[in-house]
């Protein structure tokens, strides 16, 4: 219970920060995307509470606008992975036979692949070749969500397949089927409730994984492109600046860790609640 509350509190706080980003920037009178080389790498002051980066952009404003990107990518990618995974898992469990075999071998193959180098490959591809818009922060977000979903559905699919198979094999479900209950009703009345708890846990874990993966891709320069800010791309230059501005690496990393820990606490809390019930 405390875990769930703590995790939700962290995530709500970060969401509030994301929503408040434009107002805070307006109140401070800064634009997070406009460089000002005369005030670069300045320490904390009244005008820039967390100081400025190597281009003189306000770190607090970039951090808050970065929260929008990280949370949006995390939630959207988790939603996409969970939806695809649920559909694939249900299909495999419900139809069985060769559909099941093909889907599960596909899942095994994806699990056996080195995820990060392939994420990098997909992120480096020209989005226009698969009909996605090019350029702009929104297009970047869409592209990253799509890439993360390609690998993210596997875990959810295995989980929902296992849960659905175990429900469908139970006596009362087989009895219901023998009595002529329709397949749609069967899925809705018996399979869906059994899947709800493990899916919410897997979904919140997926949020944590997606936030971490987005920050990694952006750190490598393949995710959200500057001047738009994301917690990952704020750290892209941090390594070159370890000698001159070590403090610049602090805030974005803390923000990523807090968001990931928040989502994982929610997953942990939900799991415990379910185990108690």
């Amino acid at each position: 219970m405390t875990r769930l509350r703590l995790g939700l509190a962290i995530l709500i706080l970060l969401a509030a920060a994301a929503v408040a980003a434009p107002w805070v920037a307006a109140w401070l009178g800064v634009d997070p995307e406009v460089p000002d080389l005369l005030t670069r790498q300045s320490g904390p002051s009244a005008a820039h509470p967390l100081g400025t980066d190597e281009l003189g952009r306000d770190i607090l404003a970039r951090l808050l606008f970065g929260a929008r990107v990280s949370l949006a990518v995390g939630l959207a990618a988790a939603l996409a992975s969970t939806t695809i995974g649920l559909a694939a898992g249900l299909l495999a469990a419900w139809l069985g036979g060769w559909v099941d075999a093909v889907l599960m071998r596909l899942a095994d193959g994806l699990l056996a692949l080195p995820a990060l180098p392939l994420l990098v490959l997909l992120a480096a591809m020209d989005p226009a070749t698969i009909g996605l818009p090019r350029g702009g922060a929104l297009a970047d977000v869409l592209r990253i969500v799509l890439i993360l979903a390609i690998f993210g559905w596997v875990g959810v699919a295995r989980l929902s397949r296992a849960a659905a198979i175990s429900v469908l094999a139970r006596d009362h479900v087989r009895a219901a089927r023998a009595l002529g209950v329709g397949e749609a009703r069967l899925l809705r009345r018996h399979v869906a409730p059994a899947l709800a708890a493990p899916l919410t846990v897997a979904g919140s874990l997926a949020v944590a994984g997606a936030i971490l993966a987005e920050s990694t891709l952006s750190f490598l320069g393949l995710g959200i492109q500057p001047p738009a800010s994301s917690w990952g791309n704020m750290l892209a230059n941090a390594q070159d600046l370890v000698f001159s501005a070590p403090m610049a690496a602090l805030w974005p990393g803390l923000a990523i860790a807090a968001a990931v820990a928040g989502a994982m606490l929610v997953a942990d809390g939900l799991r415990r609640e379910d185990a108690l019930r």
Binding site: R105, A112, L212, L220, A257, M264
Partner: protein, 314 residues
């Protein structure tokens, strides 16, 4: 057991064949081939030269025919030349593989030892549960590139105790170890959490079993119960994580290798895929996927040996 090997090995081979075809086509779908690079380098090349060069390199053939040629070469032990390095692909692969094995081997050994110890502590001593949980949460939430940068700032920049990255010039083992400490620590911290969490959960589950109570009632000492009765049973689910990490051992760690400027499979794999280097990329991908699939099979076999009940239905 033999029946299971006979059933799973062909599946693994089939998965690898399909995987290699899919990867070949995916890399081929990326823009640019060696001829376009040659064209950029030499403005005098005309359309006729390009046609001739394409035919010379076999690039006028459809992708699928090129994959077939590659696959029949592999069956004869020919992995082809790396285009990026202009050397046999296997020769390019070897130093990177060695670098990754050293880095990941040390990191995973430390992560597994510390993680399993922490997990046992959490399961056996309730007062340690909250601290171990907290450490596991933090270690899983830290992005590894950020952790690496923090370690560099602390130990290389501020304290000046350890090198910030790269590889040693001299061949001495002590120097090599000094360069390994920070990247190994970065990776070990990231991998530790999974071992700690799964050990704690599995041990807690096993300790509730009636035969543990029976052992206690017989007067078996707690240490014997922990190591002889509980740990081997709790190890069954842990083997699956070990198998997945065996794949990581070979696939390297792109982020850690990048942050600490070390040669390794993660960097090689990425460069090969991005550089349209079919032969090198496919060799590396097959090595990683093959290792993971075989390790998963080995883990399944070991799990059946540890827990014979699993073997009954298959």
């Amino acid at each position: 057991m033999l029946r299971m090997i006979a059933w799973r090995l062909p599946q693994i081979v089939a998965t690898l064949v399909i995987l290699s075809l899919a990867a070949w086509l995916a890399i081929g779908a990326m823009p640019g081939d060696p001829i376009s690079l040659a064209m950029m380098a030499d403005p005098r090349l005309g359309p006729a030269d390009i046609e001739r060069m394409r035919a010379l390199h076999g690039l006028d053939q459809p992708l699928i025919a090129r994959w077939w040629a590659w696959a029949s070469g592999v069956l004869h032990g020919e992995f082809g030349y790396s285009r990026l390095f202009a050397r046999p692909a296997a020769e390019v692969l070897w130093p990177a593989l060695r670098g990754s094995l050293a880095l990941l081997g040390a990191a995973l050994a430390i992560a597994a030892t510390l993680g399993i110890a922490a997990g046992m502590l959490a399961a056996l001593r309730p007062r340690w549960r909250a601290p171990v949980d907290a450490v596991a949460l933090v270690s899983q939430a830290l992005p590894s590139f950020w952790l690496g940068i923090l370690l560099i700032i602390l130990f290389a920049v501020t304290l000046g105790w350890l090198p910030a990255g790269g590889t040693p010039d001299s061949g001495s083992a002590v120097e090599a170890a000094r360069f390994l400490i920070l990247p190994v620590a970065t990776l070990a911290i990231a991998h530790l959490a999974a071992y700690a969490r799964h050990t704690a959960a599995a041990m807690a589950e096993v300790l509730r079993a009636p035969w543990i109570t029976a052992a206690r009632a017989r007067g078996a000492p707690e240490s014997r119960i922990a190591f002889r009765h509980a740990l081997p049973n709790a190890a069954v689910p842990l083997l699956s994580i070990l198998a997945l990490d065996a794949g990581a051992l070979v696939s390297g760690a792109l982020i850690t290798e990048t942050v600490f400027a070390r040669p390794g499979m993660g960097k090689l794999l990425t460069d090969a895929v991005m550089g349209n280097d079919h032969n090198l990329a496919l060799l590396a991908l097959l090595l990683v996927a093959g290792t993971t699939l075989l390790a998963t099979l080995a883990a399944d076999l070991a799990q059946r040996a540890l827990d014979p009940r699993l073997g009954r239905d298959g």
